[in-house]
Symmetry: C2
Subunit: 277 residues, 2 copies
């Protein structure tokens, strides 16, 4: 197996991918994106910390490390383009990057992937590098969605698809037909948190759970770069917001630490379900 270069942003996904690849016997080199990756797990891997304005140094670091495959994972903060320090390559690609950023996150990611591929790297997705993270079919844990949740799950998937086609967000929550919340730039955690601020007749409570959270790949997205991800904190937040469960698209979404997610879902009484659409 080729050595895997991981361009790592924030959140739990990059670490999960790195661990999973290493457990599979693969060598890993991490380019930690300064400002976006704030966790300290990279210390356990050969790595270099670089700013998003230094693609030249990133390409060199990956080549020097002998990484032939490259994977992008984690949340990347949009930089203030007038404030970032740029290396020579950064100056060259900046106009293209800014133009892509204006078209949305997906365009930005595609632009970065193209750059790596033009430099001779093979870009790989999480599904290939860490297949153990892929959401399977059916329930994870003890609970499954009930008949009363089917319509909400279908409606939330329809909303996420429509939003996703416009590169808006990956998540939506629906309770008995009512769209409680829809994700844009605030991210899934903030979106879930505001459900608890809605009037209590619109939503559930931790005692009497109602409504579902759905996360799904945008139709415009490459499964390689931006599959939706949930983890233990997503389950915990959904429970605190009074939701009854979480539905993901089987095969096209990721679960960081399945055992822990299943245990937490069982503990708080939520379903986590891989749906086939």
């Amino acid at each position: 197996m080729n050595k895997l270069g991981i361009i790592a942003g924030g959140g739990d996904l990059p670490r999960a991918v790195a661990l999973s690849a290493r457990q599979a016997g693969r060598e890993v080199f991490v380019v930690a994106l300064r400002g976006s990756l704030t966790e300290d797990w990279v210390a356990d891997f050969p790595h270099q910390s670089l700013s998003i304005g230094e693609p030249g140094r990133a390409l060199k670091a990956l080549k020097d490390a002998g990484a032939a495959d490259v994977l992008l994972a984690g949340k990347v903060d949009r930089p203030k383009f007038n404030e970032i320090k740029l290396d020579a390559k950064g100056v060259m690609v900046l106009p293209r990057v800014i133009a892509a950023a204006r078209r949305g996150d997906d365009a930005l990611l595609r632009c970065m992937i193209e750059m790596f591929e033009q430099e001779g790297f093979r870009t790989v997705g999480v599904a290939e590098a860490a297949p153990g993270l892929i959401c399977g079919q059916g329930p994870l844990g003890r609970f499954s969605p009930g008949a009363e949740h089917q319509a909400d799950i279908a409606r939330a998937f329809a909303i996420v698809r429509a939003l996703g086609a416009l590169d808006v967000g990956q998540a939506a929550a629906v309770c008995e037909g009512l769209a409680l919340a829809v994700e844009a730039a605030e991210g899934t955690d903030a979106m879930i948190a505001r459900i608890a601020t809605l009037k209590d007749n619109l939503r559930g409570t931790p005692e009497k759970k109602r409504g579902v959270l759905v996360k799904a790949l945008k139709p415009t997205q490459d499964a390689k770069t931006d599959m939706p991800v949930i983890g233990v904190s997503t389950v915990r937040n959904a429970a605190a917001a009074g939701l009854a469960g979480i539905a993901l698209e089987a095969g096209k979404s990721l679960i960081v630490d399945k055992a822990a997610v299943a245990a937490e879902a069982d503990r708080v009484g939520l379903f986590v379900f891989g749906a086939t659409l």
Copy 2:
């Protein structure tokens, strides 16, 4: 002109409609929806306060008042169906209302309109009863959107249309291609307020304004019942969130108190624009 019966929920719109109709020389009778309408302006009009569970009493009050035309306006809280007191007519229509509510706000409104029409009333929209509130073409106030806002306005309209087709919400904010926020059950004010909580490189500030708010009629909506509305507080909130302006669809949206909205927009340096799509 027929006497106008106004079924009035919360917010500034019902009062603006009532005033506008009265100024045009029309008699008005208001059914104030208890729990939803909390303002005290109804005291200035012949009215009766009723709960949403009392459609029988509402129909009788309107008939007794001699109102032949009926208009629904304002925000209506979704009741807890197991807690509201029902009159006989309420008991009869409840199953239909609950079924409609599950399909979304628009279905709920259509269901209520049907009920009034079956009882022999003519339902009218704000455009007919208070044409002075309709958003015109072009800028209201001194400022107009610049060339840099055109793409954001177009993108925000596209997002609102897509969401609206699924009966999710009426509003979205976009800044340089990025969807900052999208409205669901929280309402426009809460949606605008959270823009200020996003990282400051994604959005504008009151000093350096960026991004636009768009409100538009859902494609599924009847212009009669649920045209998007803005008022002075919308302009104030948008300015506080660092937005550069507000775009509405000319002829298909409402502005409560145009003179005050124009003055506030001029004061805070925002554009309020009626777009033709």
